[in-house]
Structures are given as structure tokens and as C-alpha cells.
């Protein structure tokens, strides 16, 4: 792709900064600095390189001693790393945010209605909008949930939607994470690190706060308590210290002041969930679970799971405990369902989607499958039921061997994959070594859905730290940066 250097005066200060077809968060296509970035850029250009390094080192060290680490799978067990953190914040204007917020509220409302419908009457099937077959073949469809009444009819209390910005500046939805999305603790700790590292810069902008997230999360969970439990006991269920997001679980539990429990702390007696405490058994009303469906109840789901609680599903069915999120929400973030979300929004809300989808090929369609297979080097292929960037093929970066393997995989089980064209999504300035270079970024805002929908302004901006890389997942060498939504 053709790249151009910046026009004066920035070409001298930022010799490694190139503009290409991707939307640049800091510079317009003409090479002029976007107004909201002016102060930020100036502050960084004014700062001596060694001071910048010193600040960077001090923030890294504080992440390590705080243990703000994640565990990388597929390496030596328990390899702890800090999530690389970039000093330059990503800016979003108030106007842009307003649009994003509206779009997310619309999308989550529709997806929640969809889940309720699928697990009850199934009107969307009888009205021939979404084929039954697509839903019933989802890996994460849970028959056990059919006809089950969930509190306030809310299935997806806590979600994180991945957004990208395309070359025309438009934000689009890449993925809905409706099961157990993680990363919100990085959003919060990044903000704290930013305030400590660059207080003056922070002060010079008017930035919308995010620190009340934990409080909103707690009130969301409380609003979903079972009937007749006005002072609910809320717990956060973690798979334990070896989970890659364990830091986040402890962080949120602490911030909310609720117990962090593991499966072995809980038991079910007469369809009531209790936790073992030093003062005996104590009833549990709401479980914010960070354990996947499969592992939650060895009686109902995977019998080899030691992370869950035997009898949990029955207690849930009896209405004695709330789970957030509900079981079976994963069907609505299946990547094949994703392709139907615009229709889902129109069907339930009679509105046009505010945030668009990325073009997606369902490979069950023979013609599309042929097209994708012939153009694999231009495609990103993803397994429908996975997350975290595991098991996908990024066409332009793949070897012909890998492509051959994926051709076979797709032919063997077309329902298990979708393909999307490689997107040239936006890039933001990052501190690489001692200078500033652009890197691809996405955005994951966190949506809380209880008695009302709350979205703290911003979210987690993830960065693909390798030059030219399009993969932002922490497990695949990504980093993150603070996200500032400006007061308009």
C-alpha cells in the first residue's frame, strides 16, 4: 500500500510516521493534525526523550509490582506478563462517542430481545427472519435455557463490543462479546497509570470519567437479584489463579467489595446456593460468573469440570439465584449469528442499525464459500465459537501451507467458520522505543445492562504493537492504551 510521509513541520519531528490508506486517529488524510490531538502531540514533542523513557519505565514497573499481569496460554504454565501499555492516549470526541453510545445501546437491546425470543416463542423463526437452523447449530446454544424466566428478562448484563474504525472514519462492530468479556480492569488501571504518569496533560483536556465503573457494575448486579432478596449477597465466581484474567477478577471483586469465590467455595442445597464461610454457610443471590457455561455445573454441562458448582443450573431454574450473564448467551455472539444482527435489530426495534457490521461471508453458502476459498489470502477466517484471537487465519500474513489447512477445515465443517475481508482499520500514534509511530487499534466499550443500560465513556483501546500487524489480542502480542472521551 502506498504510504506518504507527513508534511512539514511534522516530517522532521516524526520521521517514522507514515500515512497510508488506513484512517489515522491523529492526522487527517491531508497530513494536518486533527484539532483534538494538537495539545497531545505538542506535549509529547516537547518532552525530552529520556524523560519520556523514565515515565514509561516507571509505569511499567508499577504494573509489574501491582501484579497487573495476564497469563499466556500455550507457554510454560503460569507465565506472567504485564499487558504492554502505551503512554499515548487515544482520543474520541464527544460527538463521536454520542454516536457510538447510541449504536451500542440499540445493538445490545436488540440482542437481548433476540436471546429472549430464541429461548421462548421463537417468533423470529416463525416470521422467517433468521433460520432456526443457524441458531440451533450454534455451539453455545443451550437447550437447558428454553422457557427459563431470567430476572428482568436480561440475559446479557455485562458485555464488551469490539469496534473498529474504517478508512472513512466510520466505527463498525467487529464482534459482540456476550459471554465473559474481559479487559475492563485494564481500562481502569490504564487510566490510573495515565493520571499518575502525565498529570498535566490529563488536566489540560476535559475528559469524561470512567472510575465509577465498579459502582455501576455493582448496581447492575444488584438490580438483577432474585425476587424477595432486597439485600442480595453478590459474589464474583472466578476459575482461579491460573485463569488469564485472574487479576481482573480480584480487581473487580475488591473494587465492588464482594467476595471472590471459586467453585469449591460454593455448594447447592435444596436449590439454594451457599458459600462456605468461617461463620458457616451463607446464601448467595447473584453470581457474576467469569467461568464459561461449559464449566459452571458439572451435573448439567461438562462433567469433568472442577471449576463449577454441582446443581447450579437447577438453583438457577428454581429462580433462587441470578447468573450474570445468563447461560446460553454465547449463541448471540456466534460469528454466524453476527451476520444476522442488522436484521435482528430491524426485526425487534424497527430501526436501522446505527453501527454497521463488517462484511461477513457465511461459509455454509456454497457460492460464498467458493469465493472465500479462492481468495483466502485476502480474507480473515475465524472459527464461529471462539474468542481471543485463537484459531484464526489472517490471509495476508499466512503461508500457503496454512491456507491449505484452512481450506480443508472449511470444507470439512463450513458452519464452524466465517470469513471477512481484511480490514484496513484505523491507526493511532504509539510510543515505540523512543519515537512515535502509528499502530492499528480497536476499541472495546463495556456495556452494563440492568434496570438501565450504562456505558462508561470510552473503553479499552487495544493496540497491535507489531508494525503492520492487525491482531490486537493480548494473547497474541497486543497492548493497550488509555481512551479519553472528551467533553463536547
Amino acid at each position: 500500500m502506498a504510504t506518504t510521509r507527513l508534511p512539514p513541520p511534522y516530517d522532521a519531528a516524526l520521521p517514522d510516521y507514515h500515512i497510508d490508506g488506513a484512517y489515522d486517529e491523529m492526522f487527517g488524510a491531508d497530513g494536518r493534525v486533527r484539532p483534538e490531538y494538537e495539545k497531545l502531540l505538542q506535549a509529547f514533542l516537547d518532552m525530552p526523550a529520556d524523560e519520556l523513557q523514565a515515565r514509561k519505565l516507571s509505569s511499567d514497573a508499577s504494573f509489574m509490582t501491582q501484579g497487573v499481569t495476564f497469563t499466556v496460554y500455550g507457554r510454560e504454565e503460569g507465565t506472567e506478563r504485564i499487558f504492554p501499555y502505551d503512554l499515548l492516549p487515544r482520543l474520541i470526541t464527544g460527538k463521536e462517542w454520542e454516536q457510538i453510545e447510541k449504536g451500542l445501546m440499540q445493538r445490545i437491546t436488540a440482542l437481548n430481545l433476540f436471546l429472549h425470543d430464541v429461548y421462548h416463542e421463537g417468533k423470529i423463526f416463525s416470521d422467517n427472519v433468521v433460520p432456526r437452523e443457524v441458531v440451533y447449530t450454534c455451539k453455545h446454544f443451550r437447550r437447558e435455557m428454553r422457557g427459563l424466566q431470567v430476572p428482568r428478562n436480561i440475559y446479557i448484563a455485562i458485555t464488551g463490543t469490539d469496534l473498529l474504525r474504517l478508512d472513512n472514519g466510520e466505527f463498525v462492530v467487529l464482534e459482540d462479546n456476550l459471554r465473559v468479556p474481559s479487559g475492563v480492569s485494564y481500562m481502569l488501571t490504564n487510566r490510573r497509570a495515565m493520571k499518575r504518569t502525565l498529570p498535566n496533560l490529563f488536566l489540560s483536556y476535559r475528559i469524561r470519567p470512567i472510575d465509577h465503573y465498579s459502582q455501576l457494575l455493582l448496581s447492575t448486579l444488584r438490580s438483577l437479584a432474585p425476587e424477595g432478596r432486597p439485600e442480595p449477597t453478590i459474589v464474583l465466581l472466578t476459575p482461579g489463579v491460573y485463569n488469564s484474567a485472574y487479576f481482573e477478577h480480584t480487581y473487580l471483586a475488591r473494587q465492588m467489595g464482594v467476595e471472590l469465590v471459586q467453585g469449591r467455595d460454593l455448594l447447592v442445597h435444596d436449590n439454594i446456593v451457599y458459600m462456605r464461610t468461617t461463620a458457616g454457610l451463607r446464601r448467595v443471590d447473584v453470581i457474576y460468573r467469569r467461568v464459561d457455561d461449559d464449566f459452571c455445573d458439572p451435573l448439567a454441562f461438562r462433567s469433568d469440570s472442577i471449576l463449577g458448582v454441582a446443581g447450579l443450573l437447577n438453583a438457577y431454574r428454581a429462580g433462587n439465584v441470578t447468573l450474570a450473564n445468563a447461560f446460553g448467551t454465547g449463541l448471540a455472539d456466534d460469528k454466524a449469528i453476527y451476520a444476522w444482527v442488522p436484521q435482528i435489530i430491524r426485526y425487534y426495534l424497527h430501526e436501522d442499525p446505527i453501527l454497521n457490521n463488517v462484511e461477513t461471508y457465511l461459509l455454509t453458502d456454497a457460492r460464498k464459500r467458493q469465493h472465500v476459498i479462492e481468495n483466502l489470502e485476502k480474507m480473515v477466517v475465524k472459527p464461529v465459537g471462539e474468542s481471543g484471537g485463537y484459531g484464526m487465519l489472517v490471509g495476508p500474513a499466512s503461508t500457503s501451507e496454512e491456507r491449505e489447512k484452512f481450506k480443508d477445515l472449511i470444507q470439512a465443517d463450513p458452519r464452524n467458520f466465517i470469513a471477512q475481508p481484511v480490514l484496513n482499520f484505523s491507526r493511532a500514534p504509539c510510543l515505540i522505543g523512543d519515537h512515535i509511530e502509528p499502530r492499528h487499534v480497536d476499541l472495546r466499550p463495556y456495556i452494563l445492562f440492568g434496570d438501565q443500560i450504562n456505558i462508561v465513556p470510552g473503553g479499552l483501546t487495544r493496540v497491535a504493537l507489531q508494525r503492520g500487524s492487525l491482531v490486537v489480542n493480548s494473547s497474541q502480542g497486543g497492548g493497550s492504551k488509555d481512551t479519553w472521551v472528551l467533553e463536547s
Binding site: G67, L260, D265, T278
Partner: protein, 318 residues
């Protein structure tokens, strides 16, 4: 508080106390070996490994590098690295229950230790031990100054003082036949060194001198380490603190009658409070110490039965 959390906190207390004790014993022993290289070094290192509770399987023969084995060998469950590592694992399990300062200090200590191990970045063994010792003290300090002095804090203290009383009693059981059997009552300089070493293992030398002057006799050493009411590393003081910690837990948990635990702990505490050293020396002293160890073991079992591993049906019946 979750039972699992109480369990972890209790063991954080125990493991760190054990690490601290091992550091001191190792430091003192290495020093003594310098003083008396000629006398039966294998006997001494054998006893040392007993004192440090090195697993039997590792006790065979003379280790080539005692320091490495005791400091860094994680296969040796009694090594300092293993203890600090285990304490950190427990702390990780309960990160939301301890203060950030506690976690940070412990995590830092662990990372420092691993770095010193991989880079051999310490000048002398003594420096290494000192650095680790400081790290442990730092953790104790922030534990007392940043953590809520509620149930969790009491569990950490219960673990710490259970470990301390056990360690002192074990130390004395093993030292007793060597240091206190004085043939013909003749005191040699080597004997003197043993006693000073024993006192130093409990950071007791200076405090001892304040109370008795340097005029060291076996009775006084025993009296001081067993029965002194004010010295933090005496058995009596440790048992008092254990009793306080258990009462603290009991006060917070009014629901459960813990008669048996209270009775056992109170009995041990009272027997030490009202004991006299002559009485102890008249009887089988090693037997007496072993009885103290047995009572401590029983108390720990009751703590577990009452707060941690109680049966569900017992709990439902209440």
C-alpha cells in the same frame, strides 16, 4: 469470610514465619561452622536439616551446596524460596482480601528473590539472607499497618504464631540433647557458642543479655526461650499471641460455639503462663516439649474443624 480465604491467610502467616525462621537458623549455622570447622560437620548439618524440617528424602549425606539447597531449591519444600513462593501463591488466591501494599511487598520480595537466584546478584550469602529478611519484615509491617484488623488479620497472626511456637519447640527438642547435656558441668567455649547460636536463632541474644547479662546457663536459656512473657520469640509469648488471634476470630464469629478450641488453646496458654523452669527441668524436658508440639497440632486441627473444613451437614444443622 470464605473458609478457603481463611485457609490461605493462615498459611501465608505460617509460610512467611517459616521462611524467616529458616533464614535466621541458616545464617547462624553458617556462622557457627566458620567458628568450629573441625568438629563433626556432618552431624551439625544433619541436625540443621532436622531443625529446618527438610524432607527426609533430601537429608541423605552432606549436600554440596547447603546454601543453594536451603535458599533456592524449590524441590526442597523447606527452602526459603519454596516458603516464600507458597506464601505468594496463597496470597494470589486471596488478592482481593489482603491490602494492595501487602500483595505488592510480597510480590516484590518474590521477584527479587527469583532475580537474585537467576543472576546470582548478591555479594555474600549473608547479604542475600539479610535482603530476604528485610523483605519479610516489610511485609509484616504493612500487614499490621494497612490491613483491617479483623478476622483475616487474625488468621494471618494465628498462622504466624502457630508456626513460631512450633518452630521454637522443635528447635529446643533438637538442641536439647546437644546443648544441655553438660558432662561434669564443665562449660567449654564451644558450648558457649552453641548457646549463643541458639539464642541468635530466635533473635534472642540481645534481649537475653538485657534480662540476664551474658552470664549464660542452660537453665536461663531455656527459661528465657520457653517462659519469658515479654520476648516476642519465646514460646509463652507466641502462644499468648496465638490465643489472642483465636479469641479475635471467635469474637467476630459469635455464631459458633468453639468450646473445645477455646479450652485447648486456653489450657496451653495457662500451662505456660504458670509454669516454672525447675519443674520443667525436673521432668523429661524433651517429652515436655513434644507434648507442647502435640497440643499445638491439636489446636490447628480444631481450627480447621471449626472454621474451614467443617462438614456441610453440621453447618446446615446450626
Amino acid at each position: 469470610m470464605l473458609s478457603r480465604v481463611a485457609d490461605s491467610l493462615y498459611w501465608i502467616g505460617r509460610y512467611l514465619e517459616r521462611a524467616e525462621h529458616s533464614i535466621r537458623v541458616l545464617d547462624v549455622s553458617l556462622n557457627l561452622m566458620l567458628e568450629r570447622p573441625e568438629t563433626r560437620p556432618e552431624g551439625r548439618s544433619h541436625r540443621l536439616m532436622h531443625i529446618l524440617m527438610v524432607p527426609k528424602i533430601l537429608q541423605r549425606g552432606e549436600p554440596d551446596d547447603l546454601v543453594d539447597m536451603m535458599c533456592f531449591d524449590v524441590a526442597n519444600s523447606a527452602s526459603i524460596a519454596a516458603c516464600i513462593g507458597a506464601a505468594r501463591e496463597n496470597a494470589r488466591q486471596v488478592r482481593d482480601e489482603i491490602s494492595s501494599e501487602q500483595w505488592q511487598k510480597l510480590n516484590q520480595l518474590y521477584h527479587n528473590m527469583m532475580e537474585m537466584r537467576s543472576e546470582q546478584s548478591y555479594a555474600t550469602v549473608s547479604d542475600l539472607l539479610q535482603t530476604l529478611h528485610d523483605g519479610l519484615h516489610l511485609f509484616e509491617g504493612v500487614t499490621d499497618t494497612t490491613m483491617l484488623h479483623g478476622e483475616g488479620w487474625h488468621f494471618i497472626r494465628a498462622g504466624r504464631y502457630m508456626e513460631r511456637s512450633t518452630a521454637i519447640a522443635t528447635l529446643l527438642v533438637l538442641y536439647y540433647p546437644h546443648a544441655f547435656n553438660i558432662p561434669g558441668g564443665v562449660i567449654e567455649s564451644t558450648q558457649y557458642l552453641e548457646w549463643v547460636g541458639l539464642l541468635r536463632c530466635c533473635t534472642a541474644f540481645e534481649a537475653f543479655c538485657t534480662v540476664y547479662t551474658t552470664d549464660i546457663t542452660p537453665e536461663r536459656v531455656l527459661e528465657f526461650l520457653l517462659l519469658n512473657p515479654l520476648f516476642p520469640h519465646s514460646l509463652r509469648y507466641s502462644v499468648n499471641c496465638l490465643f489472642d488471634a483465636l479469641s479475635g476470630i471467635q469474637t467476630e464469629r459469635r455464631r459458633y460455639p468453639s468450646d473445645e478450641l477455646a479450652r485447648r488453646a486456653g489450657k496451653l496458654q495457662a500451662s505456660l503462663s504458670f509454669a516454672q523452669i525447675d519443674e520443667i527441668l525436673e521432668q523429661d524436658t524433651a517429652g515436655y516439649l513434644r507434648d507442647v508440639l502435640e497440643q499445638s497440632r491439636m489446636i490447628q486441627e480444631l481450627i480447621y474443624r471449626l472454621y474451614i473444613s467443617y462438614s456441610v451437614d453440621t453447618a446446615l444443622a446450626v
